[in-house]
């Protein structure tokens, strides 16, 4: 994303009594960018969002929006629209009144408000619903009203706090797409908090992965998935197998006396304890009897049918009886007999392996 820096978050620390919810967090967000804060519950993502909104101001650190220091400003003096998980639509007001609420506060003339509200209603596809009350709409429709209300005043920043998690799966997938399109059309800088990695991967320009009040990694969805910076990110995004080993040579990791795996060991010394990380879909089955290059013989323990592929649990002495998961396509299953108890040779392709330092305890 090229573009001007719009939001600058500098060394934010947030403490609740003795508990540190955010520990020295810094992010730069470009204008028009769609950013996701992703992490398990309690990682501090919502706290960070609320600090940006001015709803719970940080203990230390600074926030700049469009070049202006907004660190200590109350929410009412900042420039943002927000959508909450609960939507917080005013239940006693019609859809029209809900969307017009922020516009009235700007002392906009009545006629202009009507034009703007109708424009927004057509944007979110609810033109004929303006006289209904929130309780008369479906969850997905309520969500759209909340979105329309948040962008009504053309704020510079749109904040979405788990906006989709109260919806059922089908509506969620659909709205995911819609929100992304709307954001693209309006070009509004957007920050979304979510614990759903699929949501983050499909919607975000960049993802901020958070854990225990710190940022683990910032990067594009592909970077985060293909090149996780830490073992936490690797384990949190998608599925990942971890196998313990020790670096014995340049580009060689020993699992046990009979198994050595070759892979990039840049950044590690000989004798370092490491974790070999590889995704289930990157594991291949050897069908041509070529047993060089990280071939391992394992037994099939479990087979789970997941529609387009099989997820198999594999284990064996070669990997110290550690169970790893591998995804095998339907096509492959036509060539190789996948049956519990069968022994098969698999390959851990060197290019798909990432190494992480083993946590030293």
């Amino acid at each position: 994303m090229s573009g001007n820096e719009y939001l600058k978050i500098k060394n934010i620390i947030k403490k609740f009594g003795d508990f540190t919810a955010l520990n020295d967090v810094s992010i730069n967000v470009n204008e028009g960018e769609f950013i996701c804060f992703l992490g398990p519950s309690g990682c501090g993502k919502t706290t960070l969002l609320r600090a940006i909104a001015g709803l719970d101001i940080q203990t230390h650190g600074k926030i700049f929006q469009a070049g202006k220091d907004i660190s200590s400003l109350p929410a009412s003096e900042r420039d943002f629209g927000i959508v909450f998980q609960s939507y917080a639509l005013f239940p006693n007001m019609t859809i029209y009144k809900n969307i017009a609420y922020g516009l009235e506060n700007r002392k906009m003339p009545k006629g202009d408000i009507k034009i703007r509200v109708n424009e927004l209603l057509s944007t979110v596809g609810l033109l004929d619903q303006e006289l209904k009350y929130p309780a008369q709409l479906s969850g997905g429709q309520q969500q759209r009203v909340a979105l329309a209300r948040a962008i009504a005043t053309n704020p510079g920043l749109l904040l979405l706090d788990e906006p989709l998690s109260a919806l059922d799966a089908r509506v969620r997938t659909h709205l995911r797409h819609e929100i992304k399109q709307l954001q693209h059309k309006l070009g509004i800088t957007t920050i979304m908090v979510t614990h759903d990695q699929e949501e983050a991967l499909t919607m975000a320009d960049r993802i901020v992965v958070m854990n225990d009040g710190i940022i683990e990694q910032i990067g594009s969805p592909i970077e985060i998935y293909r090149k996780p910076a830490t073992a936490f990110v690797a384990g949190f995004i998608g599925r990942m197998n971890f196998i313990d080993g020790i670096v014995t040579n340049d580009n060689m990791v020993k699992i046990n006396d009979s198994t050595n795996i070759s892979c990039q060991t840049v950044g590690f010394k000989i004798g370092d304890k490491v974790k070999i990380a590889i995704r289930p879909e990157d594991i291949t089955v050897i069908e041509d009897n070529n047993y060089s290059d990280n071939a391992v013989k394992l037994k099939l323990d479990e087979i789970e049918f997941l529609g387009s592929f099989f997820r198999c649990d594999l284990s064996g002495a070669a990997l110290n009886d550690h169970i790893i998961e591998a995804d095998f396509s339907i096509n492959l299953s036509r060539r190789v007999e996948l049956k519990i108890g069968n022994k098969i040779y698999i390959r851990l392709p060197e290019s798909n392996i990432t190494l992480f330092a083993a946590e030293n305890k």
Binding site: A53, I82, A88, N92, Y101, G102
Partner: protein, 574 residues
């Protein structure tokens, strides 16, 4: 250069402590804090300072010289005074036991059985709330007094004394306990019973292992409420107590009869302490309560059981008959020419202007006072509750406010009223001018019923989405706009309930106002007291019934308004 820098003491340590961000306080925050300060000040003047003044009076002699515990020594060395403690406890404990058992059975019948006419039984049980507690005393006089119709049932014992007080107290406190019991019993998960039954548990065992533990906290709460009401009640012992003294009547006798204000203060402290203790223990117990009911609980719908239902129906009918007999006798007596010699009907007893006690003006004063209290009280209390729930930051201020707001619940009306004499009647007090006016009655009433109204408001406000305020802030709406356009409309049923609660209590209260009314501001409930005192019992009954009609009218009005609001202004509630 280097020696210059080292020569000065400005070498900073390596770790620079980051500066703490001081949030800018917005205009809304200022307004909310100032508003909370004003309501806090109101509570300070209306409850804290008067109580403090009363406490200090109990350590002074008539000339306002500090004499330590001398007044207390007199109190504990005068058997006539000291015995009242024993009497009050006795009455309170026996009444509590009777009320708890009957209200539990009655509540159980209404929630867990299939008896017919549940709505009727529920309405009947709430009748005592519509009249001053004095009414039960008056009614008992007609039933069991010296010329009572059923005097012989007492087999020679006198109704004037502990028996009368216990029956009278049980009558008027019964609905207070019943409402708590019904709430406690209504909250249960039918799956608990299904699980117990599938494990082949006997009905009795289910009762003791599922029903009773589930209602435990409600019953504990009810017992403290009942005890405190019975312990501090003034109306019933005043009318039917005869020579049997309790603490509440002692305060009255000391202050009104003997003008011994210091001893009145001492008795007040003695009355206040158990009330505060009960209140404190109850809060401690309630804190331990965990939510038994998950959002997914299945509501229990009782199944018919012929024998059980018949027994409970008979029980409820007996209780309902007693209640009807009490209020019915008061009504009957109010319409009788000259009890018991001339039983022809007349409206002469309603000619209040011919008797001492304030006449019809007292009744109109009551309506005026109750309306003011309900109007201003509801505004102050709901807005105060809103501020504690929805304002930003200022945690300590909000916590202190919350604490002060629950104090009035622990203070008996007599004690509050006497405190007001001490505090507001002092010529040096800048608020002295309200003494003897309608305003002081309104303030005393609002304060006396503050806590329950406050807690009701808090419960309603807590059901609102806590992000309404965040959203409005982001939409640049001032808080008062969202308060008026969102919080108030959504909470309107609770607000109406609070107004109704204050109105009914203002109409019927005696204890909070008995010390602070003036000849211009006498009230209907006080007229009942004074006419009864003067021997005009039939007019007293008539006035008590006027209060009851007014309360019933208010309740009907309340229902109509609720209905209209639900139909025309609250389409959004579906």
């Amino acid at each position: 250069m280097s020696h210059i820098t080292t020569g000065h003491n400005n070498i900073k340590p390596n770790i620079i402590k980051p500066k703490i961000v001081k949030p800018k306080i917005s205009r809304d925050d200022w307004i909310m804090r100032i508003a909370m300060g004003i309501i806090g000040l109101f509570l300070l003047i209306a409850i804290i300072l008067p109580l403090y003044t009363m406490l200090s009076k109990s350590f002074e002699d008539k000339d306002a010289t500090f004499i330590g515990f001398a007044n207390y020594l007199v109190f504990f060395n005068t058997p006539a005074l000291f015995n009242s403690i024993y009497n009050s406890f006795n009455i309170a404990i026996i009444s509590s036991i009777i009320i708890l058992i009957t209200s539990f059975l009655y509540g159980y019948a209404l929630t867990r059985t299939c008896i017919p006419f549940k709505m009727f039984f529920k309405l009947i049980a709430l009748i005592p709330l519509l009249t001053p507690s004095l009414l039960s005393g008056i009614s008992l006089v007609y039933w069991f007094g010296n010329q009572g119709v059923a005097k012989d049932l007492l087999m020679g014992s006198s109704i004037y004394g502990p028996i009368g007080i216990i029956i009278g107290s049980s009558y008027w406190i019964f609905p207070h306990a019943l409402m708590i019991v019904i709430t406690a019993l209504a909250i249960t998960d039918s799956r608990l019973y299904e699980a117990a039954e599938s494990l082949r548990t006997s009905k009795i065992k289910i009762f003791f292992t599922v029903t009773l533990p589930g209602a435990k906290y409600g019953l504990i709460s009810a017992s403290f409420v009942v005890f405190t009401l019975a312990f501090t009640d003034f109306g019933v012992p005043k009318v039917i107590g005869g020579n049997f003294n309790v603490l509440a009547t002692d305060i009255y006798k000391q202050v009104i009869g003997q003008q011994n204000f210091q001893m009145g203060a001492v008795v007040s402290v003695v009355l206040l302490l158990p009330a505060i203790l009960a209140f404190w223990v109850d809060r401690l117990v309630q804190k331990k309560q965990v939510a038994l009911l998950s959002a997914k609980a299945v509501i229990l719908i009782p199944k018919p059981d012929k024998q059980r239902d018949r027994i409970f129906f008979i029980f409820c009918s007996i209780i309902a008959t007693i209640i009807i007999a009490m209020i019915g006798m008061a009504q009957f007596a109010a319409l009788i020419e000259f009890w018991p010699y001339n039983l022809s009907l007349t409206l002469a007893n309603y000619d209040f202007d011919l008797m001492d006690g304030g006449g019809w003006d007292a009744f109109y004063n009551s309506i005026e006072m109750a309306s003011y209290s309900a109007f201003f009280g509801t505004i102050i209390i709901f807005f105060g509750a809103y501020l504690t729930q929805k304002s930003n930051g200022f945690e300590r201020g909000r916590a202190i406010f919350q604490m002060i707001a629950i104090i009035p619940l622990a203070v008996p009306g007599m004690v509050l009223g006497l405190s007001y004499i001490f505090f507001f009647n002092n010529p040096d007090n800048p608020f002295n001018f309200i003494y003897g006016t309608m305003a002081i009655l309104v303030i005393a009433t609002i304060t006396h019923f503050y806590t329950v109204s406050h807690l009701t408001s808090i419960t309603a406000l807590q059901q609102l989405d806590k992000e309404f305020e965040s959203v409005s802030e982001s939409l640049k709406a001032p808080f008062y706009k969202t308060f008026m356009r969102v919080s108030v409309p959504i909470c309107s049923p609770a607000i109406m309930d609070v107004a109704m609660y204050i109105f009914l209590n203002a109409m019927t209260t005696v204890s909070a106002v008995v010390f602070i009314y003036s000849s211009d501001t006498t009230l209907a409930s006080l007229a009942v007291l004074n006419m009864d005192d003067a021997g005009d019992i039939a007019p007293a009954a008539a006035m008590a019934m006027m209060i009851a009609y007014c309360c019933i009218a208010a309740r009907i009005l309340h229902m109509i308004i609720n209905h209209i609001m639900a139909k025309y202004f609250q389409a959004w509630r579906r």
